[in-house]
């Protein structure tokens, strides 16, 4: 179940892993970013930020849309979703569904 969608170019970071995770009892994080999803090095870097005991994935926008619309997260856990900041003029929805 998606509990939180956050557009934040810091991706998985302290405010999310400490404050929001505690408030919402999050147990998994999905970072939505095509560029990161295509780079193993960057992906590993981002995933290293996930706290112990949580699951984390970096997924493409296409996969994120599938997760959101079909409602079948990759592992059977709750997800929170992140993306980088939208370009000027882009809406959050556009970032979420069409572009990072």
């Amino acid at each position: 179940m998606i509990l939180l969608v956050r557009v934040d170019e810091r991706l998985i970071h302290g405010q999310v892993t400490v404050a929001w995770r505690g408030a919402l009892d999050l147990d998994a994080f999905a970072v939505v970013d095509d560029e990161l999803a295509g780079s193993d090095w960057e992906k590993d870097l981002v995933l290293a930020s996930a706290p112990e005991g949580t699951a984390a994935e970096v997924v493409t926008v296409t996969d994120a849309v599938r997760l959101g619309t079909i409602g079948k997260p990759i592992p059977a856990v709750e997800w929170s979703l992140f993306s980088r900041l939208p370009a000027p003029g882009q809406s959050v929805l556009r970032v979420w569904t069409l572009n990072r």
Partner: protein, 136 residues
């Protein structure tokens, strides 16, 4: 000369340097970077700028406060970009690590100093030592 770049949340970088200098006096060639109010891109650029080549620079040790944090990630990304100067990133910077850096930077080669800083930072964490009332 080996340079230190401190990359921390809030005022921690500047506070660490100020506190260390109260103990050992001026520590040259230490750059302090805060992530407060800055995008990761800005922080990354500041690290790259601070770690860029200048005369006599043989290495740059980037000390971030928190493993997994955006500060750490920016530092790691800066190493990927490269500045023409060898760079290493350690996390968990504390006063002991910075003091150790100030004392050892002129006596070790860069890779040895980087490893020693990580070790000295760990060595600064001790305890718990419980009071006589005890603890379990």
């Amino acid at each position: 000369m080996i340079r230190a770049v401190l990359v921390c949340h809030g005022e921690l970088s500047a506070a660490l340097l100020t506190s260390a200098e109260e103990i050992v006096g001026h520590i040259p060639d230490v750059f302090c970077i805060s992530n407060r109010g800055k995008s990761p891109e800005i922080v990354r650029q500041e690290i790259i700028r601070a770690a860029s080549e200048s005369a006599g620079l043989s290495g740059v040790l980037v000390m971030a406060d928190l493993f997994g944090s955006s500060c750490w990630r920016c530092a790691m990304e800066a190493t990927r970009v490269g500045t023409g100067v060898p760079m290493a990133v350690v996390t968990g910077v504390n006063l002991g690590m910075l003091l150790s850096f100030s004392q050892k930077r002129d006596n070790m080669d860069f890779p040895t100093l980087a490893s020693t800083m990580a070790e000295d930072g760990r060595r600064g964490i001790n305890g718990p030592v419980f009071s006589s009332e005890g603890g379990t």
